[in-house]
């Protein structure tokens, strides 16, 4: 039995402790917003926040996430600046990688409210979007920063 805190809720999951957090989220908790793509931490589609930090959930054993606060795309409020920016800038194409991408951005902006171009590349270059939405991701990040600044909110 694993006990997890996801999006503010507590869950007891009957799954082996070495099962990846990704598959526990998807197949046990039915939180399908977190996506599987490579399974080896190369692409970032499975990114979630663990204690506010962006992590590849495919590489985290569920047992190691016990006691930590986990946030998935479903736990991000619909009016979150990053979600709004992603709609405003029409960043998404197929959309499969984007929940992971957005969680990576939230993780970045939580640590650094005012990232420069290099900070953004450093945070985002570990992710893959096969549709090639990188140009719009950059615009989305700028817009999210502006929204946060204007409204005095934090990621």
């Amino acid at each position: 039995m694993i006990s997890l805190t996801v999006n503010g809720k507590n869950y007891n999951v009957d799954a082996p402790k070495d099962m990846s957090l990704l598959w526990v989220l998807r197949d046990h908790l039915k939180l399908f917003g977190t996506k599987f793509s490579c399974g080896i931490g190369e692409c970032g589609s499975c990114t979630v926040l663990i204690e506010g930090e962006a992590k590849r959930s495919c590489e985290v054993a569920a047992g190691d996430a016990e006691g930590a606060e986990i946030t998935t795309i479903e736990g991000l409020p619909e009016n979150h600046p990053v979600k709004r920016a992603w709609i405003q800038e029409q960043v998404v194409q197929c959309g499969y990688c984007q929940p992971g991408v957005m969680m990576q951005v939230v993780g970045l902006l939580a640590q650094n409210k005012n990232p420069n171009a290099q900070d953004i590349i450093d945070a985002m270059d570990d992710l893959i979007c096969r549709c090639g939405t990188y140009q719009r991701m950059k615009k989305g990040i700028e817009t999210a920063i502006q929204i946060m600044r204007k409204e005095g909110t934090v990621a």
Partner: protein, 732 residues
């Protein structure tokens, strides 16, 4: 406006038969429009290809036959209907169509989202259907008020009585309008009257994708659903010698081990158990049919094939004589390796086969083909087989294949439960139907004015037709390999080389390698463009002319291509000085009815040979534009994907199978490598063209030409890795 793809609504989809329904039957003789009331009387043999329904509660239900994979089709097709119908966008309910004959694309005669054909296929019939609906609503209102139709005006979902100012909604008029005859040649709007088309409409699928609630194929979750994962043969043609069924079944939760055409499936109650079962099943395979085949031998094979005569596809003028008469001749050979679709969502399908019904939930581009195979494999009659299209986590042609559906149905039949097949990334790469590798050898000659007068082109490729459809190409000519060089005389894809060389020939050699291939965003257009547009640059250099004006000399008959080139030159600082180590390259290509010219601006690191693509300018002429912002997004994405294949991507082979395993050894472009993309739409009266694919075609040659411009190094082998660039720089 609502969309249908939330999980709750996913299973709903059919249109109740009340209100005004317009069906457009597209035939070779034109479009025939009928309303639902008259549908029974439709001439036999006509196939309805598009429809919408206005219900009395003032909702307009629009069926989208195509698959949404990020290209924006679920927004673009409803925009066309809503505009001609003069509907209020907010009253639309957009539904994903099931697999059915009436939703076949008029160009492809198949329900299939490929060949950049959705908007260009449905534009005309949907406009007619919408306009017919508007005319009928106007007439119904005129009758209601007992006034002439000229006194009525359609306005955003209502008919307005111009004298009295009274209004009736489309919903209020729908039942009366349904009883009227359908005008067969309704008056279409003028461009100046468009309410939606030509203005950017936010994509309807984006909010649910951003929320994380969008349902992709891999997110399907049915009661009591089981999971299947497959052990795959490590080499082409490999047959299993043995597998340990007992050990797999000993894993808690594993229910069945079942062979399928492309691997041994382990079916279990949970995905975790299925994966553990796959480890335990320990399949022993034989060496397959080509145990010696590796990356180097594949390349050698394609290059050697160029020595064979091949099939003559086209000959114009007298190529041999012209080569003999030419002032200068030149020859070059190019090689482009296999690349993978590498869709972000790995392949998946869920099947629920019961005694009297089969449901398949699949992120597919090909509903017709899925329905056919699902009917065959389930053994049920066609009307009992239902294909439900989910969102697609990338497509690029990979998802036109139905192999996942076959596997899911076999597994579901074996355990009597719904089963979801999940591919690991390794399986996805290992079992992909790749973009075919190709070798090109081109000989050409210049006359005494240094004009290009003869072009002799030999190409070797795997046969897409043979590998994809199991059909042997007639006379050795597989048109899928040729798009961008030549096309069938009446081909709908308008993918012939635009240059008008007086002496011209193309010969094709089809390889007999076992590597499965399939269309890959552009089919082989992008590969053919790399060879032709690199070679045009080499010839320009030989002629001592500017590469852009050299191209224009051979395009005097094609104003469209010339205009695109001039547009991109004007907007890209063509001819302006650049720092040392920087260069610009140009290329143009026509495919799927769209002409694109691109200029790439690159820098090359003199020490490492690494290329950075800084900026790409793109001139696009696709005729009318329905939704401008997704058009820009498609070009940005195609250019970025083009950078990926140009600089990084190559599938590796070893021991007769695929050696590439995952994204750590299959390099894809990342944010720091994505260029700035500037899109310049050419205002054009041409027929409508496609936009999903054409942006990728000129990118690779534009970059290779820019590298030549920057360094004098010509790289004729993709991808343009630092090692290849350095080696070419040494030769330059």
């Amino acid at each position: 406006m609502k969309t249908s793809m939330t999980r709750r609504k996913f299973l709903k989809g059919s249109l109740a038969a009340s209100g005004l329904t317009i069906v457009a039957y597209v035939t070779p003789l034109g479009t025939k429009l009928v309303s639902a009331a008259g549908e029974a009387g439709a001439a036999e043999g006509f196939k309805p290809s598009a429809f919408f329904q206005i219900t009395p509660d003032n909702v307009i239900k629009v069926m989208v036959p195509n698959s949404e994979m990020g290209q924006g089709v679920r927004t673009a097709l409803p925009m066309i209907i809503a505009d001609e119908l003069e509907a209020d966008w907010d009253q639309l309910e957009i539904l994903q169509a099931p697999a059915a004959d009436e939703f076949k694309n008029p160009i492809l005669r198949n329900q299939l989202t490929v060949a950049s054909a959705s908007v260009r296929g449905f534009y005309a019939p949907l406009r007619q259907a919408g306009a017919a609906g508007r005319a009928m609503l106007l007439e119904a209102a005129a009758k209601e008020w007992n006034v002439p139709v000229s006194q009525c005006q359609a306005e955003k979902g209502t008919i307005v009585n111009l004298k009295s100012g009274k209004k009736l909604t489309y919903g209020q008029l729908s039942l009366k309008a349904a009883k009227l005859p359908v005008p067969q040649a309704p008056t279409l709007k003028k461009e100046s009257e468009f309410r939606y088309m030509g203005k950017s409409m936010p994509r309807v699928d984006i909010p649910e994708k951003v929320s994380g609630k969008a349902v992709f194929g891999s997110d399907i979750d049915l009661p009591d659903m089981h999971y299947a994962v497959l052990a795959r043969p490590p080499a082409y043609g490999a047959k299993h010698l043995s597998f340990d069924e007992k050990a797999a079944m000993a894993v808690k939760g594993v229910k069945k081990v079942v062979p399928t055409p492309r691997g041994i499936a382990v079916v279990a109650e949970t995905l975790h158990a299925a994966m553990k079962g796959k480890e335990a099943v320990n399949v022993k395979w034989d060496k397959g049919t080509h145990p010696q085949m590796d990356t180097a031998s594949v390349e050698e094979n394609f290059i050697k094939d160029l020595e064979k005569p091949g099939a003559n596809v086209v000959t114009r003028g007298d190529v041999q004589k012209a080569l003999g008469d030419a002032q200068k001749t030149y020859e070059a050979t190019y090689y482009i390796p296999c690349v993978s679709h590498a869709t972000m969502e790995t392949q998946t399908a869920t099947a629920d086969v019961r005694a009297d019904r089969c449901d398949v939930y699949v992120p597919t581009q090909g509903q017709t083909l899925n329905h056919m195979v699902a009917t065959k494999v389930s053994g049920l009659p066609p009307e009992k087989v239902h294909i439900h299209t989910t969102f697609l986590g990338c497509g690029f042609g990979r998802r036109a294949r139905p192999d996942q559906t076959i596997e899911a149905i076999i597994a579901s039949k074996a355990v009597g439960k719904p089963v979801k097949v999940v591919y690991t990334r390794e399986e996805d790469l290992q079992t992909d139907f790749f973009r075919s590798a190709m070798a090109h050898r081109i000989k050409a000659g210049l006359d005494n004015r240094n004009q290009l007068v003869v072009w002799d082109h030999k190409v070797s490729s795997s046969s897409l037709l043979r590998m994809n459809a199991g059909k042997e190409p007639k006379d050795g000519i597989d048109w899928y390999c040729l798009w961008g060089l030549w096309d069938t005389p009446k081909g709908p894809n308008k993918a012939r080389m635009t240059y008008g060389f007086p002496n011209f020939s193309v010969n094709l050699v089809l390889s007999d390698l076992p590597i499965p291939v399939a269309p890959w965003r552009s089919v082989q257009n992008a590969v053919n463009a790399f060879a032709t547009e690199s070679f045009m640059d080499e010839m320009a250099h030989l002629a001592g002319k500017d590469p852009l004006s050299f191209r224009l000399e051979s395009l005097t008959h094609d104003m469209r291509a010339s205009r695109a080139l001039k547009t991109v030159a004007l907007n890209s600082n063509w001819g302006m000085p650049l720092p040392k180590g920087w260069g610009r390259g140009v290329a143009q290509h026509r495919s799927f009815g769209t002409t694109i010219a691109e200029v790439a601006e690159v820098s090359v690191d003199a020490k490492s040979g690494a290329i950075q693509v800084h900026r790409v300018d793109v001139a696009v002429d696709c005729g009318p534009v329905v939704n401008p912002d997704p058009l820009e997004a498609q070009i940005q994405g195609a250019v970025t994907m083009g950078v990926s294949t140009t600089l990084f991507e190559e599938v590796q082979f070893a021991n007769g199978g695929v050696a590439t395993a995952n994204f750590d050894d299959y390099r894809l472009v990342r944010m720091s490598e994505a260029p700035e993309v500037h899109v310049h739409v050419v205002k054009s009266n041409e027929d409508i063209g496609g936009i999903g694919e054409p942006g990728i075609m000129p990118l690779a040659p534009a970059v290779a030409n820019a590298v030549f411009n920057a360094t004098g190094a010509r790289v004729r082998r993709m991808p343009l890795t630092p090692e290849r660039v350095l080696a070419a720089m040494k030769k330059a």
